[in-house]
Amino acid sequence: MREEIINTKNQAIAQITEAKDAGELERLRVGYLGRKGKITEFLKKLKDLHPEERKQIGILVNDTKNTIIKLISSQKNQLKEAARDWFDPTIPGIKQNLGHLHLVTKAVDEIAEVFEKIGFIRVRYPEVEWDWFSFGALNFPEGHPARDEWETFFIDTKPHPKYGSMLLTPHTSSGQVREMLRVKEPPIRMINIAKCYRRQSDVSHYPMFHQFEGLVVDKNINITHLKGTLDYFAKAVFGKSIKTRIRPYNFLFTEPSFEVDFSCTLCKGRGCKLCRGGWLEVGGAGMVHPNVFKACNIDPKKYTGFAFGWGVERILMMKPGLNIPDLRQLYSTELSFLNQF
């Protein structure tokens, strides 16, 4: 039987190797491996053999079977196109109708996730605010010229006896006040992401936009921690090679105050049309002013803190490759735009 098997194997190898098309291969497969095929017959006969012999012959038959299976499959792949079973793998797939999340939603989610990883609590505070939360408690005296930069929309309604005018908050910094009043006793690590409004509309401004405000208050917080946090954020969003820096600036609610720059994501810091000498302005930051702590019932002798408030759209526009020329485009309602992302 051993000899018979070996002969069959050799014969099969010869026939399969010379087979010219898919049909012939199929006939051979049936002839050897089919229900009445030669190999199947051998397997049936095994049970009549002596146990010792059965084991050895069994191995041989199985080995032969595997050889034939492999060879048929490899021979199929060597057949010329015309000799094969016809199948068109290039036919387009049937797509399911998949929608699109807005770029701003994606950016908000990404930003929240980065800060939540380092222990920040995400909140969302009101868009319509009293003057006291958006300015007063943030150390802005009434009628101060610095208020001009905030281009604020006011609501036509009676002012609050204690909190002043009703307005659309021009920055998420109002959330600093609300969060300190909510938590009462530090530690505080807040990330407030909300809609803001300013009276302006041009290539880089839309009257409605989104800011994210970070606030950290605890014992022994200093400038190194602010730098560490913005470094962490920049690297998480733009990659390891991004550099950050802070420059002097003035905000009434922080002391010292900073302007934050990231190295340009387009030219990688070499300097280009988009940036200023390799740097892109990201937004403001600073160490919380003691007067803000006082307004929020937190003891400035015991605690220090830092805060920053940046535009979600700004971070989005810095994404390399996005190439949206006009910020207002983000608020287009046209599907031809929205469905690109």
Binding site: N97, L98, G99, H100, L101, H102, V104, T105, D109, I118, G119, I121, R122, R124, E127, V128, W130, G143, P145, A146, F153, F154, I155, D156, T157, M166, L168, P187, R189, M190, K195, Y197, M208, D218, K219, N222, I223, T224, H225, K227, G228, T229, D231, R245, I246, R247, P248, N250, E255, P256, F258, E259, H289, T304, T333, E334, L335, S336, L338, N339
Partner: protein, 651 residues
């Protein structure tokens, strides 16, 4: 405020070999931000942003002081040259002038009469500098006042001495309705409370600190000039300037609180220039009215306070080398306490120890401070925040083919009801109100899209603003969406998918409402709470849905209770019923479902004319149902639907 500083001019007061580009770069890192440097002829112009607290550096000299303090930190020698104009000149006459001042309105006034103005022609070098810095060159007299302002940082003014009839200023508050005509010929009606100069006869002859008036301005016939510096209450200057919309450079500077000490430098620098350029002679004493001269203030702080706030330790001696060039006087008590004497020009912005820390830190260089994440304990977490669920809702709609859109919360009047909040200062009529519903904005968006898209589903999740009585409005997070090209059943199925993803047990209750076609709107309810609405809009081909996100989140069930997996297989059969016209299929499904507790699923699988096929699962948790048992249930179903709806089985 943005200013332009000429590099040539800067070097009149700054001794350094540093080139303009490095100056711009390093000053931006440690001081005012230089937005750009450009070359004009043989000069370079720095475009500098001066923050409102640092009006002391709005001048050539003030900027030079910053540069001189910063460059040495980058290994470049730099020295500030003194600005000390000549005070020795001959007084050719002793003309009179009287100023009746009011301490509440002005801090200091200084004036001098100049006579024999021989030259009105501005020299080229001066007009070039002024033009470079964005100031129009007019004539030598006016140009000198502007030149002094740009160089010294204190606005100044030149009156025609002979037009001031009684040689007298009475400084007073304006009355409401008083009129002045500025030198450019425009007449302004005052709101009252503005600082004005009265000639003693009731006529206003100047709007000090803001703009000169026509009746006192110098012109070609002017023989004698009254050169004048006034240092006014910044809050009033701002109020007048904003109220009358006169935003001159002088007003922008004066409203930020200029150092009255600078007035003296300005007057003598002006006299120097008038003599040099116009050939003028001094014809009066210098009238100086300065009732409350600056008393030097001090800020005291611990060395440890500086170290802790910076996160790095800087040596005492180093600190002194940073602060001294900025004009601060440092002295130490027992090496532990730092006394910082504040110069007059920094009196407004230096008040607390943190201000001193900022000065040290910026000159040390923020780039030299290390970065590290804070240690310390984490804040208490917030349980059950809305954000992950809002995200789940958006993700689900996206997976079901929806495209998210952001529309503006500010809408025109016709989009809102009576109680909507209105803006006092809108950008335009179409963005005058805060919206109370997403529907109009989404319809607007859909109308834009329907001409170029056959089928779409657009949705938005955003606040609507419902005005509260004497309080902030309720900001209600709302989900809204529009289907176009979808059938009623397809659209409703998507909403059903969303509700089932959120495990919300909802029912749909038909109820007509304005804006929807009759009988084509349903309320989406869960446990008696209305979550929202769904239906076909009246005038459009759109299907709209709006859901209150907060209520939806309240109804959301993150963990449905486990039901044991049935051990016995269900019997599944299709039952086709012929329904009379105007039968509500939703009610038929509900009727079949409640027929027997062994019916655990009923689905509408097909509609052919008036024949509706329902797929019914019969299942008992404890045994396999026999054909007899199923037949009994089926008979019960058929009996019920016949009785209730007149429905018959189609065989």
């Amino acid at each position: 405020m943005d200013i332009i500083i000429s590099d040539n001019w800067l070097r009149d007061y700054l001794q350094t070999k540093a080139a303009p580009q490095p100056i711009a770069k390093y000053v931006s890192l440690c001081g005012p931000s230089v937005e750009k440097v450009n070359q004009v002829d043989n000069d370079y112009l720095y475009h500098v942003e001066i923050t409102t607290n640092r009006i002391d550096s709005v001048s050539v000299y003030g900027f030079a002081r910053e540069v001189a303090a910063i460059l040495p930190r980058f290994g470049m020698a730099a020295k500030l040259k003194p600005l000390s104009p000549n005070r020795n000149f001959k007084q050719v006459d002793n003309l009179p002038f009287t100023i009746l001042s009011d301490d509440k309105l002005v801090n200091r006034t200084i004036g001098v009469v100049l006579t024999n103005i021989k030259n009105w022609q501005t020299p080229g070098w001066m007009s070039k500098r002024l033009t470079s810095c964005g100031i129009r060159s007019l004539n030598a007299v006016v140009d000198i006042t502007n030149f002094v302002m740009l160089e010294v940082g204190h606005p100044s003014h030149a009156f025609d001495y002979d037009k001031i009839k009684n040689n007298k200023f009475i400084i007073r508050e304006s009355k409401k309705g008083e009129k002045v005509t500025s030198f450019d010929g425009k007449t302004h009606e005052l709101h009252g409370g503005d600082i004005v100069f009265d000639d003693g006869k009731g006529e206003i002859i100047d709007l000090p600190g803001i703009i000169g008036t026509k009746n006192s301005v110098v012109d070609k016939n002017t023989k004698r000039v009254f050169f004048f510096i006034d240092n006014n209450d910044p809050a009033r200057i701002r109020k007048t300037s904003m109220g009358l919309a006169i935003r001159t450079v002088a007003a922008s500077i004066n409203e930020k609180g200029v150092d009255p000490e600078l007035g003296e430098t300005a007057i003598y620098r002006g006299i120097e220039l008038f003599r040099q350029i116009c050939g003028a002679e001094v014809a009066s004493k210098v009238f100086d009215n300065y009732p409350k001269p600056y008393k030097k203030k001090k800020i005291i702080l611990d060395k440890s306070f500086i170290d802790e706030n910076l996160g790095v330790i800087i040596a005492k001696e180093e600190i002194e080398t940073y602060l001294t060039p900025l004009g601060f006087e440092c002295s130490w008590q027992k090496d532990k306490k730092l006394f910082v004497g504040i110069p007059s020009f920094r009196a407004n912005d230096m008040n607390i120890p943190e201000d001193v820390v900022e000065e040290i830190a910026r000159i040390y260089g923020y780039h030299n401070i290390p970065s590290e994440l804070m240690k310390g304990s984490l804040p208490n977490p917030l349980h059950k925040t809305v954000f992950p669920i809002e995200s789940l809702i958006k993700q689900t709609l996206k997976a079901l083919g929806g495209t998210e859109v952001y529309t503006l919360s500010l809408v025109p009047k016709e989009y809102v009801g009576d109680n909507a909040l209105k803006l006092l200062n809108p950008l335009g009529k179409d963005t005058e109100y805060l919206r109370t519903s997403l529907k109009p904005s989404l319809i607007h968006a859909a109308n834009q899209n329907k001409s170029v898209n056959d089928i779409f589903h657009q949705f938005e999740m955003a606040n609507v603003y419902l005005s509260g009585k004497d309080d902030l409005p309720e900001e209600r997070m709302t989900l809204g969406g529009i289907f176009y090209g979808y059938s009623y059943r397809q659209s409703k199925g998507i909403i059903e998918n969303l509700l089932s993803e959120l495990n919300v047990n909802a029912e749909f209750v038909p109820e007509d409402s304005q804006g929807f076609r009759p009988s084509r709107r349903i309320n989406i309810k869960s446990a008696k709470t209305i979550l929202g609405e769904f239906g076909i809009l009246e005038n459009d081909d759109f299907i709209y849905y709006g859901l209150d996100t907060k209520r939806l989140i309240d109804a959301y069930n993150p963990h449905p209770s486990f039901k044991s997996i049935p051990k016995y297989p269900p019997q599944i059969e299709d039952l086709t019923l012929v329904l009379p016209e105007r039968t509500k299929v939703g009610n038929v499904v509900q009727t079949i479902k409640v027929t027997d507790q062994n019916i655990n699923k009923v689905e509408l699988t097909d509609i052919f004319k008036n024949a509706y096929t329902f797929r019914i699962n019969y299942q008992n948790p404890k045994k396999t149902l026999t054909n007899d048992e199923v037949e009994k249930i089926r008979e019960k179903i058929l009996k019920n639907v016949k009785l209730k709806f007149g429905a018959l089985q189609k065989l």
